[in-house]
């Protein structure tokens, strides 16, 4: 597997490094920022700026399960708003929030590339299509019980 970074172009390794950290911890911990700054020869403000720019990166731990509901046009045309409302109501949180017990984080996506099977969502990285409120409930019941 070719490595992801460009040799000789130092800062280019930053995004791959952030992805690795987030995969490992679920978020980018503060202590890693100083380290990254040193490795990539950047200021901590630079690193924080990059983290803040990209929607994927977060600086606080997410819930144990992450729900990503697509809210883009195709899914809207197939009832995504109702699905989003249902999820929000059932979990008692708004988009961008984590439940108090740390079980779920609910987030919006703007296209998951599954527009021919709208409405779509991702649960812990797994893509789902043609999601109804009932299918979502069954899924959440399963997660609740596990």
């Amino acid at each position: 597997m070719p490595e992801q970074t460009h040799p000789g172009a130092d800062p280019s390794g930053l995004l791959p490094a952030l992805h690795r950290l987030q995969e490992e911890h679920g978020y980018i911990p503060d202590h890693a920022i100083a380290q990254l700054a040193k490795i990539h020869n950047l200021s901590q403000a630079d690193i924080i700026g990059v983290i803040g720019f990209y929607h994927d990166f977060r600086r606080t731990p997410p819930g144990r399960s992450q729900l990503l509901i697509c809210r883009a046009e195709s899914c809207q045309a197939m009832g995504a708003d109702a699905l989003a409302g249902h999820a929000s109501q059932r979990l008692g949180i708004a988009f961008g929030e984590t439940t108090r017990d740390g079980a779920y984080t609910l987030e919006a996506a703007y296209c998951l590339g599954n527009c021919a099977c709208s409405p779509a969502m991702m649960v812990n990285g797994k893509l789902l299509g043609r999601v109804s409120a009932e299918r979502l409930d069954t899924l959440l019941d399963e997660i609740d019980q596990s």
Partner: protein
Amino acid sequence: MTARLYIPGDAAAVSVGADLTAEAVAAEARRLGQEVAIVRNGSRGLFWLEPMIEVAANGTRIAYGPVAPEDVPDLFAAGWLTGGTHPLCLGPTDSIPQLARQTRLVFARLGLDDPVSLEAYRSNGGLTGLHKALAMAPEAIIDTIDSAGLRGRGGAGFPTGIKWRTVLNAGSDRKYVVCNADEGDSGTFSDRMLMEGDPYSLIEGMLICGLAVGADTGYIYLRSEYPDAWKILQAAIAGATREGLLGDNVLGSGRRFDLHLFKGAGAYVCGEETALLESIEGKRGLVRAKPPLPALQGLFGQPTVVNNVITLASVPWILAHGGAAYAAYGCGRSRGTLPFQLAGNLKRPGLVEAPFGVSLRELLHDYGGGSASGRPIRAVQVGGPLGAYLPESRFDLPLDYEAFAAVGATVGHGGIVAFDDTVDMAGMARYAMAFCAQESCGKCTPCRIGSVRGVELLDAMLARRPQRSNDDTLLRDLCQTMLEGSLCAMGGMTPYPVLSALDNYPEDFGLAPRPVEKTA
């Protein structure tokens, strides 16, 4: 005899249960003591039929779908392994009307076989283009692309040959080929399908581009929302490296080409080519001012080709069959085919590769089967979140870059999203502004501030229908400022969906309906 079954491993097929169905097939075969070989192929793109299983019976592939796990015992009982009849039987795959009518050039191999098998790729016509290119001078390769009339499929429709020639003639011993696989446009999934279902065609296209422009390093910038494409590309790159397609000595030619896979991080604007380059360089995805063109000073300041996945994946076909064969399809200055993506409220959503010139009505009705809800289709957004909304009176417009531009619309990456008559178009206009506010890179004022003001204005308008103020005039003014003053198409095209909604559906904004004659 071992029966061969094809069950798509495509992420969309899996999202509606293809893995569960595959497990059920394996389990039932075991129970019956029947030997089966299950191939996880790409998707044919007939998504309303997914999970669609094909059975190879007497040299013909017979399709069944959509197959749920509970259908499986019944299908075995009906003798599907030899093409037995069953209510889910769709007949020979090649005769399914919505597939048979298509012109599959770039997507010809989609769904045929295991996507990471280089052997299968070769036996289905793969690498013919590369072999030809290896024997050609760079100029000759670019002439072929010119004669095909290939234009960029990422949205802007810029002639690919001109871009390549600029990079070829740029003096530098370090050049790059960057594949834009950010596919951020909502309503689009052709890049994803191609990367998951025929990854070697993208790799081959990038290799040919490298030969043409004199670049020995490539990057694929893949959006993070596509984990399955990531895995398949990783496997394909490893396979291509093992087989000497990538690396120091491409197919024994003495030429080198290294290919890197780079993961995006969920920023729509990083699909804009200069923001994408910033992102690979490890920075915030701020759009760069042009000039300099990326073709002259792109990645790490070096001459760089940035092309969309479909642009690059069209190249092997063009080299294999010649530019004229490709240019024989299409209309006007839009040559060849485009893989259209039918999405939203349609009965038969999916991928339709067709020559330019096909009408929206054909796509929506003949292929798409009309709305899924059974209600009239009221609005169609073509070309992603920055594309215009078109009413029924526009459905006979040929899909052609110039014809669309002439009415203030865009073909873009070929995404087509249908809405039925329950849609609130003022709400969709607000959404377009909100999306821009969310995704703006922040570099220029009309986009960064304009989009926020746009949301506020639309919120006020939505709360006050019918309108009694001149907020619509204000909204038009704001859109004009964004159109004219934005650095890139993010701010510059957000007015397309907003103004087309306002023009075509004024009643949704609480304004007097427009007179009957057509406006853009």
